[in-house]
């Protein structure tokens, strides 16, 4: 479900790329420190982006650290801060419920989910204790999603709303009311976009396995490919959410992260959506800021 959110690298300076890389490594390290080595497998760009959005104004500078994936060179990495901790906790909770959901789904090929479920069980317990409200919201929203799936809901917006609300809940604790409203709107539409782009990405697989996919029921698809009408309709929805994210972004000062967020909401997300719709997203290391570093992602 995750791993779609990327800034457009062509729009970033070397300094900005390094900063983004250091946040990604910081999240990996925070996951390792709080939840053990196995939890690092859930690392992805989407949660790095979440940490960036929630980044505190003042944090210690990135430092050079040893890295399991790069034992000889090491990597620049932000030391733990409240945003990285929140992103780490929430990614564990979300990944756990996603895995449970995948295991409950009919169809075979569950080996990797069973293994991940075993590996994450302890981590999930600790994360749920640290963020009980987020855990509760996640369960509620995923239950809602489950009911819509069971009813084979023919709407794109309703199941996307359940998932979007889940991500928007990450902004609940932000004290500044303007910042909170901006973040809620950005995260709502980020969640909506992720849900829809994931539906497009999984369409063929879901059609073959008989799993629920809102695109099948919304457009009455008779196969695992989007028709021209469906593709055009989905494009309107994807583009709309990206535009609303960008409009919200302009209403708050994100400081040093502005170039990375700008390169994501004005270009990166469009390019990912286009690659998914064209079926080229999984070809090679397309557009990956740190190619080859996230092979373990779910």
């Amino acid at each position: 479900m995750f791993g779609y959110v990327r800034p457009s690298l062509g729009k970033l300076s070397e300094e900005d790329k390094a900063r983004f890389g250091a946040a990604y490594c910081g999240l990996c390290r925070t996951l390792g420190e709080r939840y053990g080595q196995a939890a690092r497998m859930i690392l992805n760009y989407d949660f790095t982006f979440l940490a960036i959005l929630l980044w505190p104004e003042e944090v210690p500078a990135a430092v050079h650290r040893g890295c399991v994936a790069h034992p000889f060179s090491g990597r620049a990495c932000y030391p733990g801060n409240p945003a990285l901790e929140l992103a780490a906790d929430e990614s564990v909770i979300l990944s756990w419920w996603q895995i449970r959901d995948a295991l409950a789904d009919p169809g075979g090929g569950k080996g990797k989910y069973r293994a991940a479920s075993l590996a994450l069980k302890g981590a999930y317990g600790r994360a749920a204790e640290r963020r009980p409200d987020f855990d509760r919201t996640t369960r509620e929203k995923l239950e809602q999603l489950g009911e819509l799936e069971a009813a084979r809901c023919p709407s794109l917006d309703r199941p996307a709303d359940a998932f979007a609300g889940l991500l928007a809940a990450a902004a609940e604790g932000v004290p500044d009311p303007v910042q909170r409203r901006v973040l809620e709107q950005m995260l709502y539409h980020l969640g909506r976009w992720i849900y829809l782009v994931d539906a497009a990405d999984d369409l063929e697989k879901d059609f073959a396995s008989g799993s629920y996919n809102p695109l099948i029921y919304r457009y009455g698809l008779a196969g695992g490919k989007l028709t021209e009408e469906a593709r055009e309709g989905l494009t309107v929805s994807l583009d709309h959410s990206i535009r609303l994210m960008a409009a919200a972004y302009e209403l708050w000062d994100f400081g040093v992260w502005s170039p990375v967020i700008r390169a994501t909401v004005y270009e990166g997300l469009y390019l990912v959506g286009r690659a998914v719709l064209e079926g080229t997203f999984h070809a090679g290391d397309w557009g990956r800021p740190m190619a080859g570093r996230n092979k373990e992602q779910l």
Binding site: A164, V178, Y188, E232, V236, S237, A247, L269
Partner: protein
């Protein structure tokens, strides 16, 4: 008062042209078209007020009143949904429209759900509630139904056009207009066309201000 140059993000040594350009760029960013029926429209409107005040203060300080286009910015338009009272309108729909204007979408929806006559206006208002929630797919379907039921209604048509053709919003310098759907279908063509039309007007959709 905040330093007007800081608001426009320029040094106090900026030339008149640079001041004007900085103002135009910010005005494009916070233009009502980018916050049409947006839950954050009030924040954009606040930004616009600050920018207008800063530009006005710099113009006054420099004795430039009357030159450089002034601050012809219209403050209305952020709601995207401002109503004239209709004398012949159904009073039940007026209530729904008032609830939408207050951003009380739950109440607006309840009022609509109690009605049995799902005519063009009912569908239009349902669409508007969806649009405000960011549910653009359902909004579009309701607007389409409203237009089919009442093809002559300009308000319904305008709402549908906005959903289908509003592809060329604000872009920062160096960023092109993008769509997730290029590479197939006719969206790219339409997109290019929309963009071109805006540009023909002189300034990315800024008819409001400058044309």
């Amino acid at each position: 008062m905040t330093d007007p140059y800081e608001v426009l993000n320029i040094p106090s040594t900026a030339t008149d042209e640079e001041v004007k350009k900085a103002y135009r760029d910010l005005a494009r960013k916070y233009h009502p078209d980018n916050y049409h029926d947006n839950p954050l429209a009030d924040l954009a409107q606040e930004k616009m007020k600050e920018i207008n005040a800063a530009y006005h203060a710099i113009q006054q300080e420099r004795g430039n009143r009357g030159s450089g286009g002034g601050t012809a910015y219209a403050q209305q338009g952020y709601g995207g949904y401002q109503y004239q009272q209709r004398t012949a309108g159904n009073p039940a729909f007026q209530q729904v429209r008032m609830a939408i204007n207050r951003n009380d979408l739950g109440m607006a929806e309840q009022l609509l759900d109690r009605m049995s006559d799902h005519n063009g206006e009912w569908n239009f208002l349902k669409g508007t509630i969806c649009y405000r929630r960011g549910w653009v797919d359902e909004a579009r379907r309701y607007y389409e139904t409203a237009c089919q039921m009442d093809p002559g209604n300009a308000e319904f048509r305008q709402a549908l056009n906005f959903v289908e053709n509003n592809q060329a919003g604000y872009r920062p310098e160096g960023y092109e207009v993008f769509s997730s759907g290029c590479g197939g279908g006719n969206l790219c063509g339409r997109l290019a066309c929309t963009y071109l039309l805006c540009n023909l007007c002189g300034f990315g959709g800024l008819r409001f201000f400058w044309c």
